[in-house]
Structures are given as structure tokens and as C-alpha cells.
Amino acid sequence: MTITCEQFLTALADYLDADSLAAMDPAMAEAVREHSKICAPCLVVLDTTQQTVRMVGDVRNFEMPEGASERLRRALDEGLGEPLVPATLRAGAAPASPRGQRSGRIFGFGFANRLRATAFAFAVTVVILVAGVDHWRARATTTSGWLIDQHCFKTYASHLADHPRDCLLACADRVYGLVDAKGHFTRLDAKGSKQALAAVQASSKPDHIWVTIHAKRSSDNQVLEVQDLALTDPTDAAGSSR
């Protein structure tokens, strides 16, 4: 029986394994042997593939990474509740976990571990939430709104656009603030009030004093810590922020 190189290659699926070779058609097995005698490239493929199979088979005999076996036993100790690790190994310092900072123990097994994992997850969530709120507060944002002093806010609350420039300048010794879209008044810090006064003095607008400021909110959310401020045109009657 003569076979082609393609048939030879297909037949290797059975020829390379002892259990498949045993079940292989003897005529086909013989044809593979005969073909490899007359076809040098196929002989090379057969020989080097057999070497490959042998080399890959050796992989199972490679040692575990250093400390892996001890880490495994420690993890099983913790998970199963009784020591699997010989006392001589347990007495030493714990070897590095496979992920450095990460413990070698298994999460998700045993009530105690589950409880610890849940408590840990809860604590992490709280920290993230607190940090997130602080981060949000600490981050400077750009906000627009009506500029007015604290004293006149109550008087002009329903018609903020009409609050005149002259009144703003007259109230310069008072505290300036910004009224947002919801009608909330938020005080500017001293630096912001100073910048606002300078901007109003430099402007000739009689009223409709609208500002856009870049500021951080104080931790109690009561004061805008102004980084930059400019008089702008109100695009609508409401304040906006981004």
C-alpha cells in the first residue's frame, strides 16, 4: 500500500500514540513506515514530531516553582482546618505567595474564610466610597451662575438678573456667592470674592452679572474655593455646572 505525504500526515494522528497505533489498520501502519523510508521530509516530520511529543511529555516531570508545594499545603491547612504541612515547614516564615501581596489562601472555602472575605469586602467598599466622595469634593469643577452678595440674595432671589452692578460694588465688603440652577447660594472664599470684585469693577455691564468659576468645594460643601473666575454671558436664566 502506497500513500501520499498528505495521507502520511493524517495517519500520524494514530501512528504517534501507542493506544491509537494498537487500533490502527496494520496495512496503514506499514504504509506509514514505508513512506517514511522513501520521503525524507516526511521522515523529518515524523522524527521531530516524536521528539516534540517526548519533550512535551517531560513537562509533567518539571518541578513545581519554589515554595509552591508549601503554599499549597498551607492553603489546604487553612481551608480544611487541620494541618497538612509537616511541623518543620510550618515553623518557618511563610514563603512569598504566588502573587506577591496576595495571600496563598483560598478564598471562598470554609465559613471562617467566607466571613473574613465578606468583612474585608465590606471594609474595602466603605473605604472606596469615602475616598470617592472626598475625591469628588476635592476635585475642582467649573460652575456658572449669578454673582450676588449674601445680603442681597434674599431681596433679589426671584429676579437675580436685575441685581445691579452698582449694588454689587456697594456690597463689596460683604461676602459674594454664586446662585446655581436650583437657586442655592454658595459662598465664595476670600480669594474668590476678591477676584469677583475685580471682575465686576472691570466690567461695564449694568446688571445680569453672570460668572463662570473654576473651584473646589470645601469639605462641608459650604464654600467654593475659587481657582479661576470670569464674568460671562448667561446662556439662560438658570445656572449650570460641569
Binding site: 500526515l9 500520524l12 494522528a13 494514530d14 504517534l16 500514540d17 501507542a18 493506544d19 491509537s20 525524507a40 521530509p41 523529518v44 516530520v45 522524527d47 521531530t48 514530531t49 521528539q51 516534540t52 511529543v53 517526548r54 519533550m55 512535551v56 511529555g57 517531560d58 513537562v59 509533567r60 516531570n61 518539571f62 518541578e63 513545581m64 516553582p65 509552591a68 508545594s69 503554599r71 499549597l72 499545603r73 492553603a75 489546604l76 481551608g79 480544611l80 487541620e82 494541618p83 497538612l84 504566588p98 502573587r99 496576595r102 496563598g104 483560598i106 472555602f109
Partner: protein, 204 residues
């Protein structure tokens, strides 16, 4: 490749003792199978830390469910099934939406028709150090598609039979044979490329 009868009996005895709560027997089973499981898990996950965790979780699950182990099944096959499931879960978890399907590997023709037909003049097994050989094989195995890595891990590392591999992967025996041959031919090409570079580097 079947385990010798004496070895199977020995494992059977250890399993029975472990089932009865004998931790030393379980310890002996861990020692016997940890290395093979680690290597198979490393081939599938390609990550040493993940492979360690797969082995830990495999033994933990095995111990918890030892009572459900059917004595007529081979213990190593049972452990391998747990390890395969654990490794697959880990890959899905780690890779999320980028996870590459393990069940449907790239059935490309790459590697099926050998391109490199040069002889390996020097026996790499003799002239390479253990670390060097390990790294070269690790690189070659890591380049295989997931489905090919699985079949190599089960057949060539864990030495399961073609029938056992087919049942574990939910494939036909013929498909396992075809996939394994393609995987081996791809590995051969990758090893040939690395060995070729080494020979060239050595002669310069």
C-alpha cells in the same frame, strides 16, 4: 497511558483512607498528583500564579467532594476534570468579555501542513539545560490556541487516554485525535523555530 495496577490499587487505598478522614492519606494524594496538575493547569492558564490557585482549588474541591468520587473512575481523571473546570472558570473570570472560547478553538490549517522540514541535527534534549528547555516549551505551549492547549494538557501532560479526553472535553474521539495532531505539529513548528534561532546564535 494506563497506570500500573499496583499504583492504581495504592491510589485507591489512599482515597478510601482520605474518605474516612485520614489527612495523611490525603496529603499523600496531594504529593502524588500536585506536580502533574500544576503543569497541566499552567499549560491551560499560561500563568504560574493562576496555575497554583487552580491546583489549590482543585484539591480543596476534591477533598470536599471526596465522598462523591466513584471508585470505578480513575482518581487522576477525576482530579483532572475538577482542575479543567477550575482553570476554565479562572480564564473566564480573568479575561471577561475578551475571553477566547475554549470549546471552539481556531480550527485553522496553520501547523497542519509542516513548513519546517529541516532536521534537528543536535538533540535538544541533550544539549539544553532544564531551565532553558522549560522556558522554550513554555513559550511554544503558550502560543497554542486555548482548545489546543487543553487537549495537550490532558493527553500529553496528564496522560489521559483519547477516550477519557474526548469525554472530558465533550468531543468525539476523532476530533480529539485531529486536534492533538494539529497541536503537536504547531508545537513542532514553534520548537523548530526556536531551535533554529539557537543554532544560528550559537554559530555566530
Amino acid at each position: 497511558m494506563a497506570e500500573p495496577v499496583a499504583a492504581v490499587d495504592e491510589v485507591g487505598g489512599l482515597v478510601r483512607r482520605a474518605c474516612a478522614g485520614d489527612r495523611e492519606a490525603f496529603h499523600a494524594l496531594v504529593s502524588r498528583f500536585e506536580r502533574g496538575l500544576y503543569r497541566a493547569a499552567l499549560v491551560i492558564t499560561r500563568n504560574p500564579a493562576d496555575a497554583e490557585e487552580v491546583v489549590q482549588e482543585t484539591f480543596m474541591r476534591a477533598f470536599e467532594h471526596l465522598a462523591t468520587f466513584r471508585g470505578d473512575a480513575k482518581f487522576q481523571t477525576w482530579l483532572t476534570q475538577i482542575a479543567l473546570n477550575t482553570a476554565r472558570m479562572k480564564l473566564r473570570k480573568n479575561h471577561g468579555s475578551l475571553w477566547e472560547s475554549l470549546d471552539e478553538p481556531h480550527e485553522t490549517e496553520e501547523g497542519f501542513v509542516p513548513r519546517d522540514v529541516a532536521e534537528w541535527r543536535e538533540n535538544p534534549e541533550e544539549r539544553m539545560g532544564r531551565k532553558e528547555k522549560e522556558q522554550m516549551l513554555h513559550n511554544a505551549l503558550n502560543g497554542l490556541p486555548p482548545g489546543y492547549r487543553e487537549v495537550v494538557a490532558l493527553r500529553d501532560i496528564q496522560m489521559l487516554s483519547t477516550q477519557e479526553t474526548a469525554e472530558m472535553l465533550g468531543m468525539s474521539v476523532a476530533n480529539v485525535k485531529t486536534r492533538l495532531l494539529r497541536a503537536r505539529l504547531q508545537l513542532r513548528e514553534r520548537l523548530a523555530a526556536q531551535l533554529g534561532r539557537k543554532v544560528q546564535a550559537g554559530t555566530l
